[in-house]
Amino acid sequence: MAGGVVEKPADPAAGGDVYRPLAVNYINKFKGIGNWLITLDHKRIGIMYLGAVTFALLLGGLFAILLRTELLFPGTAANPEVIASNDWYNKFFTLHGAVMVFLFIIPGIPASMGNFILPMQLGAKDLALPRVNLMSLWLYWIGTVFFIGVLVLGGLDTGWTLYPPYSSGRDVQLTLIFAYTAVFILGFSSILTGLNFIVTMHKLRPPGMGMYDMPLFLWALYATSLIQVLATPVIGITLGLSIVEHLFKIGIFLPEYGGDPVMYQHFFWFYSHPAVYIMVLPAMGVQSEIIATFSRKHVFGYKAIAWSSIAIAAIGFIVWGHHMFVSGQSPTAGIIFSFLTFLVAIPSAIKVFNWVATLYKGSIDLKTPMIYGLNFIYLFGVGGLTGLFLASTANNVHLHDTYFVIAHFHMVMVGSVLNAFLGGVHLWWPKMTGRMYSEFWGRIAAIFVFLGFNLAFMPQFVAGTRGMPRRYANYLDEFTIFHQLSTIGAYLLGLGVVIQVTYLIHSLFKGKQAPPNPWGASSLEWQSDSPPDHHNFTAKPIVMGPYDYENWEYVSENRGWVLKREVVETRKTLAKADH
């Protein structure tokens, strides 16, 4: 019996009303770590990515807790230490940023959930290029090893942006070479994943599924992949140029050889601004799935959401200069970049309006993923709207490099990416592991994350407008209250994440067996077993719209949602007529 499809009427007397998971699934089909390491199965690769990015999230989070603790008290030039010296503080924030950006946020959703879910949402057996997929995972690991090398060798204090001449102008540290290498290798991992996704979405859609019949998560991944393939090479080129500059003393970025440090900033943000959308777009995709599923409504404005992803990807390439309004860049360029930045706000706004409109007349079920979905609307609302202040040249001159910027991009990055990541993990946890997590603890943790997050970052907006510069190990007394509130918020947020890790791991051993479709979602992955077969589907999934929730009916907690009989019958008749 294939997943959620009822092929014969259930007979309670014969025990037919109980969902029996597959005896052999993708997790237990092959045994041994060796088998995992060389697997071509997109699901196993997705799970390994999920483990790796979660590790990165916790590591980056640990650095965040350390740096927030250092900022509990002002510190002075004479007595700078709360828990660490200025130099250690500088390493904390550099490593927090670098680990979070390069190891968690950029690969996070596409590599873990994208890998696992994308082929299943297409009803396919795997990605189009499974070996390339394995290679991408290995590159990610090699990159991570280099990052661990940076930690072991004493850390790095350049900031994640690696601006010269601070980073590369003086005696070059070994850890900087390691960081360059890590970013370079991780870039290739990212490019290969993006390439694989594009090919898969073009070549492996089942008959009857056009581009407009794909779940919006896939449209988001498509737009993301385009950026990964087109923008990531630029960061590789930039780091390459920097190395060439050192080896041959050719002036590119360093003034001492006749180069220009602002040029590095152009190169860097030409990648790193689109990279912001590499981070956000998949999160928006997960968000579309969550909002639709838990409102039991067709997403409002499907095409608008789909094309706004592409529009964001396209405009996102031409706004990088807004990171450099006060760098000495020409003011004319500044005004043009400001204008373009305002344009990119529109497609993001369209998505938010469409999500809210999707809720209208739905049946809204506040399961854990949906709480993250609502958090997303709120936090992304704050993050997106505060972007308008920063897009204005006149306000940006004051706010640039203050805590206002810190608060803004954490609202966007964490508000959207972390929320969608956690929401997506809960949404697909039953599918990936075959276990249900504790709904009670799920909701508690979601509320902790929400409250902690607001307390951590709302005060930073005010500190920022009042002039608190970023990357300060010590600060003036007048900012103390904002920093202390923020630190307490960070602890709460940390507690939320710890609760989460605890009950999710607990659910692996003690969680209830998950039905194939616990949420009544309609994209194709829910027609597989939980956890799925090695080949994903034991019978050909019935292709239908990703938001046709009317096709499903709720049977019981144990069976979850199953396809209505008439839907199955109609499709069978249609299929026969075709032959």
Binding site: R170, R296, I335, L359, K361, Y378, R471
Partner: protein, 347 residues
């Protein structure tokens, strides 16, 4: 458009002593900046309340419960979607317009009056403001920025080639500009309030806002704005002319200004060796040679080289990171001060 905005700017309620969000408005662009901020803020609040209000309302009204089913509504509505795309776009263009108006003001110094120039040199981790002008016999190198109210100033800034990027930020002026090695960046402003009027006896804050390493968060100084030229002159001379002070005071002030971020006086090592107990003790160098600072000819030569060409001999175990200092005709006087100060720190 321009004149409307300009009169708007003048008619703004002056939150001169500072608001919930901002420090006092002490330059002639501050009011415009704050107006733009408030304008954007209120637009954002309207949209935010609408979005979150609708979300909460729908969540409560259409919550899952017995007897309630989702209703299939339209999957799209072109008119509605166009309206909520084009409407916000117009508002964004309004923000862009106001922003650009004020930005043009921020980057265009007045053409019809004399603009006083101050050169700024930023280096790890201190600021040097080279101030000259009527009533001053030459250029004074000050640790604080001294200005006269209502005069336009043009700051021309740079940082040495072997240093790193810094950024000059005066929150009360709402202005900021990076100091980039190999470039001369500029920034003009007109202070409209003295630090006394703002109730800030020590002056307005001036921060470094481009990350520059260990002492980044201590690279803070003050902006002093005076009513009269006489007050200003007194401030500049007291700050900038160390040569008139007794040698020991001179040395201490130079230390506070230029040395403190890397050298302690309590015996602990920072970037460079501590000054405590340095006097008269031989130290081994990376080159293998040995040097000490004292009042002998050799000791003074070593001290001079350590300040003017610090990369020449490096004390063993410390990085070669110090920026060379150039003091022109004040060199001898300053070295004399440093020597007196070091002697006062001997064990």
């Amino acid at each position: 458009m321009t004149s409307v905005l300009s009169s708007l700017g003048n008619a703004l309620p002056l939150a001169r002593s500072g608001s919930y969000w901002f420090p006092p408005q002490a330059s002639d662009v501050a009011a415009g900046h704050d107006f733009l901020y408030d304008f954007t803020l209120w637009l954002c609040i309207v949209f935010f309340v609408a979005i979150c209000g609708a979300t909460v309302y729908f969540t409560l009204k259409y919550r899952k419960r017995l007897g309630h089913e989702a209703v299939r509504t339209a999957t799209h509505n072109t008119k509605l979607e166009l309206a909520w795309s084009i409407g916000p776009l117009m508002l964004l263009m309004a923000i862009f317009g106001i922003s650009t108006y004020w930005y043009l003001h921020m980057i265009s110094p007045p053409k019809d009056e004399y603009v006083h120039q101050i050169d700024v040199n930023a280096q790890r981790w201190n600021w040097t403001f080279k101030i000259k002008g009527e009533g001053l016999d030459g250029t004074y190198e000050c640790a604080k920025l001294h200005l006269i109210k209502d005069r336009p100033y043009q700051i021309v800034m740079t940082t040495p080639d072997n240093d790193v990027i810094h950024s000059l930020f005066i929150p009360a002026f709402r202005l900021k500009q990076d100091c980039v090695p190999g470039r001369y960046n500029k920034l003009w402003f007109r202070p409209t309030m003295t630090h006394d009027e703002a109730g800030l006896e020590d002056g307005f804050d001036l921060f470094c806002t481009e990350y520059c390493g260990t002492g980044h968060s201590d690279m803070i100084t003050k902006v002093m704005v005076y009513n009269t030229e006489a007050e200003w002159k007194a401030g500049v001379v007291a700050d900038g002319d160390l040569t008139t002070k007794p040698a020991l005071d001179r040395g201490r002030m130079i230390y506070e200004r230029l040395c403190k971020s890397c050298h302690t006086i309590d015996g602990s090592a920072l970037i460079g060796p501590s000054f405590k107990g340095l006097w008269g003790k031989s130290k081994e160098m990376e080159s293998g040679a040995s040097h000490k600072v004292d009042s002998s000819a050799e000791g003074r030569t070593y001290l001079r080289e350590s300040v003017l060409t610090p990369g020449k001999e490096i004390v063993k175990g410390y990085p070669n990171q110090m920026t060379p200092f150039t003091w022109g005709d004040k060199t001898d006087s300053y070295l004399e001060g440093i020597e007196a100060y070091l002697e006062s720190l001997k064990d």
